[in-house]
């Protein structure tokens, strides 16, 4: 009983944090206080204050506007990554879990192999082959996220396909495809949803890490990871340039992981 209450609280805190972060990004879609890429020679390295809430960076760019834009880029990359991973992962997981057999064996061995490698390393390999940039990062991370979804979906299909409602549908003459995607898929909703939030978090972290290494999103697109790496060289003078984008990443990751606790 007590535990349930705590988890509920976690959920509420998580939702509040995520709403805040999303609000921030959505406002950024329509309005930023300054042009995120506009340089102002008269306002370099200004501390946070009333004219620039989050201060300005080495080039006099407004950090608040850049965090809003950068957060949007990060979320955009993470969303598409998870979408690619979830779509193909679900397809692979559904077919292998439902049919089994040698194809399943081979695919799962490959899956296990890929899953044991840290995603950032794999993403770096792909990026070293196809080059950096926003869309290449999405492709690289998207491919790498397929196995984790496939594994989860597959194990759900293996248990669900033995259930009575599936046998019933079979007796009624439903085709395999119909059983797989109309009858079984909705039942994997809960587990798929939690994999989506975990995946989203991993994608945010991976994108930030790659952009930090300057191998991810390229300028002029602002990204939170890139801002951190640029801020590092003059951090003693203007630490706020590193702190605000960092906090943005931390808040969104913590928010989603709290929601997932439920």
């Amino acid at each position: 009983m007590k535990n349930k209450k705590i988890n509920n609280l976690n959920f509420k805190i998580g939702i509040s944090i995520i709403s805040l972060v999303l609000l921030f990004i959505i406002i950024g879609l329509f309005y930023t206080p300054y042009d995120p890429n506009a340089m102002d020679g008269t306002a370099k390295n200004m501390a946070p204050g009333f004219t620039h809430l989050f201060g300005t960076d080495n080039f006099g760019r407004d950090v608040l506007s850049r965090v809003m834009e950068g957060g949007r880029t990060t979320f955009f990359v993470a969303l598409l990554t998870v979408a690619i991973g979830a779509f193909f992962g679900t397809l692979v997981g559904a077919f292998t879990g439902y049919y089994g057999g040698w194809l399943d064996e081979i695919l799962m061995r490959i899956n296990d192999g890929v899953a044991s490698f840290p995603s950032i390393l794999l993403a770096l390999i792909v990026v070293s082959l196809i080059g950096p940039g926003k869309y290449n990062v999405i492709i690289a991370l998207g491919i790498i996220f397929i196995p984790s979804f496939a594994r989860v979906v597959r194990s759900e299909y293996i248990t669900l396909k033995e259930r009575d409602f599936v046998k019933n549908a079979k007796l009624m003459g439903a085709s395999d495809l119909r059983i797989m995607f109309v009858h079984i898929l909705p039942n994997t909703k809960a587990i798929l949803l939690s994999s989506l939030t975990i995946g989203f978090n991993n994608a945010v972290l991976a994108e930030a890490g790659m952009s930090y290494l300057q191998l991810g999103v390229q300028p002029p697109d602002p990204s939170l990871g890139r801002m951190l790496s640029e801020a590092q060289s003059y951090m003693f003078m203007s630490p706020w340039c590193a702190i605000f984008p960092g906090i943005m990443i931390v808040l969104s990751v913590i928010g989603f992981s709290l929601i997932n606790e439920r």
Binding site: G113, P118, I120, S128, L129, L213, P239, I243, I249, I254
Partner: protein
Amino acid sequence: MKYTLKKVLTLVLTLLIVSFLTFIAFQVVPGDSAVTQLGTNATEENIEALREAMNLNGNVLVRYGRWLSRVFTGDFGISSQYKIPVSSLILERMPVTIWLAALSFSFILVLSIPFGIMAAKKEGEGVDRIISFFTHTGMGIPPFFLGIIITLLFGFILKWFTPGSYIGPKENFGLFLGYMIYPALANAIPKAAMVLKFLRSSIIRQLQMDYVRTARSKGNLENPILYKHVLKNAFIPVLTFIGMIIADTLAGSIAIEQVFSLPGLGRLLVMAISNRDYAVVQVIVLYIAATIVVINFIVDMLYQWIDPRVRVK
């Protein structure tokens, strides 16, 4: 014995597959790298000689065989950005990464095990709530951002170390370790939080088992039950998780080395990727991949040692 033999065979096979994939991945690079390197004015003979040296002749399998036999003799080719053998580049930078990983791993264990046990013991109480707050925060911070905060806090504000003043282990080992503590902490804290959370829930699950109730009903005290019976069982799932964490620690050092400007393999990898120095990228990827495969093998071996049920299966 049969189990061990099977695992050793799998290990060899996996290493072969991993090396083949690493080799194949970098064969799809477009363009003729020999021509790229020498420029369009090079003579036909020069290009041919370099093609031979860079192992660009023959079909894929032949080239793979040649590459693998070179790898075994420690000949990894020449780095295109530094113009020196890749093996000496790697050997020079390997100790830094190994030390970073070893220190990070020690921090992970020291931070996660005691606090994990404490949190599980006091489940739902104040201590547990405080620890859980820190684990959530710890898991949400990307290691490189934590590195930046540590640099800011301990480097610029408290002045416990001078950021960027890295000293090699051969020059002054004490100062080297003193500097490495900070990157290792940055690398370790997020992972320690994950291990802690995993260990806590594993212990809590064990505490609800029947054998614990039996032990309690026989009048055993809580602590002996925990340390003699529960922990041993609770560590079994944690072991696999720790195997994954070691792999993560290795990968995490790529960004951490960048934050603290450590001349390690990770930094070399990033430089090599931006300069398209594929010989170097290939070897580092192979090295990290092989390490991960071997670690997983060791975890499997440890598994059968602490969990006899595996041997029977």
